[in-house]
Structure formats: C-alpha cells, structure tokens
Symmetry: C2
C-alpha cells in the first residue's frame, strides 16, 4: 500500500481569471487509518466554475480558502483500505474530496455509493459527478423547484452546452417547453440542436447583436430564464421576461473572476415589478432528500438514450489546473473531468 | 348641474425629476350621460410615485402616456348623477380616475363602494386610497404572499415613513418580527419609533454611513427586505441577507426618474445563490380577490387605534402637481392626498 499521495493546493489567491500558476502540486504522507476511516483512490475528478469564488482572498468571500489548502471538487473514488464497516474495499463512490490521488475519509459528508445496477446499462461513471451529480441536480431542482417550469412555456438557457445548461434544456423539452439555448461556437450549437433536441440555439460568438438574436428566437418572450452566466446576461433578458416569469440564478461564470464592485450591475429590475418576475438562486444541497429520486429518473433517461450527456476527459492529475482554467474561457464542451485512473473492471 | 370640469393633463413627457410644468390644467365639457354611466365628483385625489414611469416618452416604458392625456390616480369620489343602477347618487367610492374634478364612468374598472360602517369608527375616507387602498394592500400582500414573513425574523423597510413602508413595518410587528426602518429626517423617524412601533429607525440623512448603520441595527442580518427605493438600496442590503431571505421589490422611487441605462446596477447578486435569496416584485391587483379580507382586517386595526396612519393633505386641485413632485424629494410624510371637496356630511 502506498503511503504517499499527491494533491493540488492553492499556491496563491486568485485575482481575475485563474491560471495554472495559482495552484501547486504537493506530496503528502497518508496517515495510518483510525477506526471509522477509509482511504479511497481517485478515478475521476471534476472541475467546476463554482469553485472559483472560494479561491479569492479577502473578506468579500464566504468560505475563502487559505494558501496551502487542498483544492476541493467532486470525484469518483474507489475504496482501497477501510476501517469503516459502511465502506468496503472496492466500493465505488461519488464524493467530495477534490484534486488529489487519495482521499482519507471518516465517512461523513456527502458520499454516495454509485449504484452498480447502472454500470452495465450505458451510464458512465463520470455521470455520477455530472448529470447525476451537482450540475445535473442543479438543473433538475432549478427547473422543477425554483422555476416551476411548465408545458408550453418558453425556456431560455445560457451557457447551454455546459453540464447544467444542457441538462436544464433537455428537462425543459421533456416538460413540453420551447427551449432556446445560448452557447459559443458551431460545434456546441450543433450538438445542442441535433443531439440534445433544443428548438433553437444561438451562437453568441457568431451573432452581431445577442439581444436582438434572443428577441428573435423568443418572439413571445421568455417564461423561464435559466442563467449560468451572470448579471449582464440576466439584464439582457429581463426586458423580455413574460408576466410571472422566473429567473433561475444558477451560476455566474462571467462574474466569478470580477471583484464585486467591478461587476456588471443589473439595471432592468423594474421588470420584477411590472411583470411580477421572480429571481431566485439555488444551492442544490438544499434538495438532498430528493436526490435519489432525481438521479434514478435521469439515470434511466441516460440508459435509454433520451438524455444526452457530453463528457470531456483530460488525462492525469497534472492537468487539473489547466482543465479548470479553460472553463473561464468557454473552452469546455459539456462536463469536464480529469481521469486519474481507469474505471474499475 | 355643472357641465364643465377641470382636469390635469400631461403637458410634456417628463425627463428626470418631474416638475409642475410637466402638467397642464384644462377645462373639459362633461358629456350627457348614457345608460350605464354615472358622474362622480372628486373628494380626495392621490399622488403616487409609481405614476412616474408612465409619464416618460419613448418605447422604453410600457403604457407610456401621450401628451394631452389626463393624469391617472386613485381618488375618493361621490356619485352626483347616475344612469347606472349599481351606483346611486350619494354613494362614496374609491376608484381610479385621477386628477380631475369629475369622473365619468361606465362602472367598469377598479371601483369599490366605501363601506359606511367604518366612517363612524375613526377610519378616515382618505384611508381607502391609502392604507386600505393600493399602498396598504401592497404592504399587506408584499409581506404575506411575497415575503411570507414570519415571527422572529428581522424585517428591514426602506422609505419606511411612506404609506407602503409604514404599513409593512406595522404588519411585521404584528407578526412578531424585529422591525428596522430607514427614513429621512427626525420627524419621520420619531413617528415610526414612537407611534408606529418600529424597533429601530435609521435617519439616512443623519448617519455618515448608511450601510454601516443598517448592519449595526441588524446584527443577525436581514430576513426580509421590503424595499421601496430601488437598486442601490437593494444592493446595499443584499450582502446582509440571511439564508433564504426574501427581497420584496415593492417600489423604486429612486429609479423612476433615471433612464434605465443610467440606473444604479445591482452587483451583489451572488448572494441570491450563496444565501438562496429570492427577489420578487408585485403589483397588488393580482391579489384583488383577497382585497376585501385584507381591508376588513386593516380597517379594524385603524378603528381600534393599533394601526397608525399618517395622511398629509394638500388643499385644492391646483396643488396636485406640487404634491406629486415633492414625493421625489422625499418630502412626503405618510400618504399624500389632495382634497378637492369636504367629506360628505
């Protein structure tokens, strides 16, 4: 059994867009296990735009990380040694833990055994930290609990090719909505229209006037804006919101790298009054008691081929910072994961 | 019976803060009544900040008024001639109709007979277009339906001495909330603390740092922000919002006079995600089916002296523009009404 393990830590507080130099790879000694603990090896690790906010210094961020702390992130892991009766050697789990080769856990926190039943039915392991993990569940509860999306309504999804947006749009189609997406580049747009079944997709890199393009694609206005981009994106669409429209504030990838005082500010809030619009954010862990139900439904859709997922894999622990930093340049196509080891046989 | 009547019309589209020159008094001929119509004389007319948005020109405003159109506003009126069996001569009504000596109506639209039962019990006629009209009902449904305010929570009310804010705060006290208000000037602040029963009132004209003063007055944060001011006011408080806090976007008196592109923009929207904050506007007519119930409750509170109301009366049709324009300089103290005739005996 190995006794050392590598992990990524924060080398310096991030200012503006993150760069690989903000992170440092270090080797740590794995402790001897105490009763109740287990060690797992990482198979797949995720990179999420939402991690960005904790990487800045200063008082302005809740939960800001300290220099030298290990980077968090969701991962698919496999138990290699255990003194916890709930977790047997060989168990494959979706868990927090992050950018590291090994995770030592006392079994507390958000840990889910990945149900073996789906493995043979076309549901990749990576889906459990993608469409069946935080991004997909954010889409699910954002569409259902927050937006209370309904048949016949128009849904606009921004950052539509990301794992949250692509799932939100497909849930919208299943609900019988007209679904319009905004994404960057012909490859993403084609996938969203041809594979994910969006009604219309706007390539924001190709249109001269994004506001006009959205207005044209949504001639009756927007009932639900599922926004993953930030204030400027929301402000653009607010004047197009229909009566009793809902804005789901799902993510703010364009704002994470900008200090709060320098951010674009929402001006068109009068629409909240005139059109009775509700704006609400979510953190998906609030819905944890309904996770199993949502996952079972979406896993079945992945298995029968009706829920399309895009997973981008990078290879090797070393590539985690690079994979993460690219998220803020809009490079990712679907869920971006980094593979540290092959799937268990 | 008089056959002519005076009314205020829009003389020019308003830019920035409204001024009396934006309005013109004209004399019109009253028509002969057709079947189903009645004529009423105006006793009290109201001025509301929310009227401001329709007074600008251009495409940016829904329902913008044309030059020469009569100015709308709620009024207490008395029927003087009727060919509508539902409205008898002498009936006293709360109705739309506006800044005019006489109103000709076909009986449709928002018209309520003012229940005679309350007149002898200390509920002034003006209350029916104040606390028992749109401002008070906005407070009621904003607090109950939108904010879902609860015992033990902290409520922050801005423009707290206005008819919406003062009512919202008193509803909050009845619900068992800790109620903090923001108002301008010692007279308003003293009334809110001594009469209306607010726990703490901040005089924004007297404190060097309003944000710090609010933070000090709300050491545990804010559960419900009932905002009547606008984007800058909301942005200041967003970072103080507690988990699952609610922002009621009730009015935007500071923003009505500013073109949308020049408005202060909300930057602190990340709180909507991190603290699961919901921001929602309301237009009270959506709750029309519950008006009678809310009015009966609040009328009883006025009658028993437990709901304090402040009414400021101006005298004479001529003073309507002046009364209105002062709203945007924060001059008003409570509900501002203009009296055109004495209460019916």
């Amino acid at each position: 059994m190995t006794t050392t393990s590598r992990r990524w830590v924060l080398a310096r507080h991030v200012e503006g867009a993150p760069s690989p130099e903000d992170f440092r790879l270090e080797t740590v000694q794995l402790p001897a296990l105490e009763d109740g603990q287990f060690i797992a090896r990482t198979i797949l690790a995720s990179v999420d735009p939402g991690m960005r906010s904790r990487l800045s210094g200063g008082d302005s961020y809740a939960g800001a990380m300290k220099i030298g702390e290990g980077i968090d992130g969701f991962a698919v892991i496999q138990v290699v040694e255990s003194r916890n009766p709930a977790y047997a050697v060989g168990d494959v789990l979706a868990a927090g833990g992050g950018w590291r080769e090994h995770i030592v856990s006392d079994g507390r926190g958000l840990i889910q055994k990945i149900p073996a039943e789906w493995a043979g039915r076309g549901v990749p392991l990576g889906a459990w930290i993608g469409v069946l993990g935080v991004p997909g569940l954010t889409a699910w509860f954002g569409m259902h609990r927050v937006a209370q999306a309904k048949e016949g309504e128009t849904l606009l999804v921004t950052s539509a090719a990301g794992p949250v947006g692509a799932t939100a749009g497909q849930i919208g189609k299943r609900l019988g909505m007209r679904v319009v997406g905004v994404a960057g580049g012909p490859r993403k747009c084609a996938w969203l229209e041809d594979e994910a079944g969006f009604d219309t997709v706007i390539d924001y890199k190709a249109v001269p006037d994004l506001t006009a393009a959205i207005a044209e694609a949504c001639p009756r206005g927007v009932d639900v804006l599922f926004d993953n981009v930030g204030n400027e994106s929301i402000d653009r669409v607010l004047p197009m919101m229909r009566m009793r429209g809902r804005v789901v504030v799902s993510g703010q990838v364009a704002d994470y790298n900008v200090e709060p005082q320098d951010r674009y500010g929402l001006k068109n809030t009068s629409v909240l009054i005139t059109h009775r619009v509700r704006m609400e954010g979510l953190v998906v862990f609030d819905d944890i008691r309904q996770f199993a139900e949502a996952q079972a439904q979406m896993a079945a859709w992945i298995a029968d081929g009706s829920l399309k997922i895009a997973i981008e894999e990078f290879d090797g622990l070393e590539r985690l910072p690079e994979a993460f930093c690219g998220l803020f340049r809009g490079e990712n196509f679907g869920r971006r994961l980094v593979r540290l080891a092959a799937d268990p046989g």
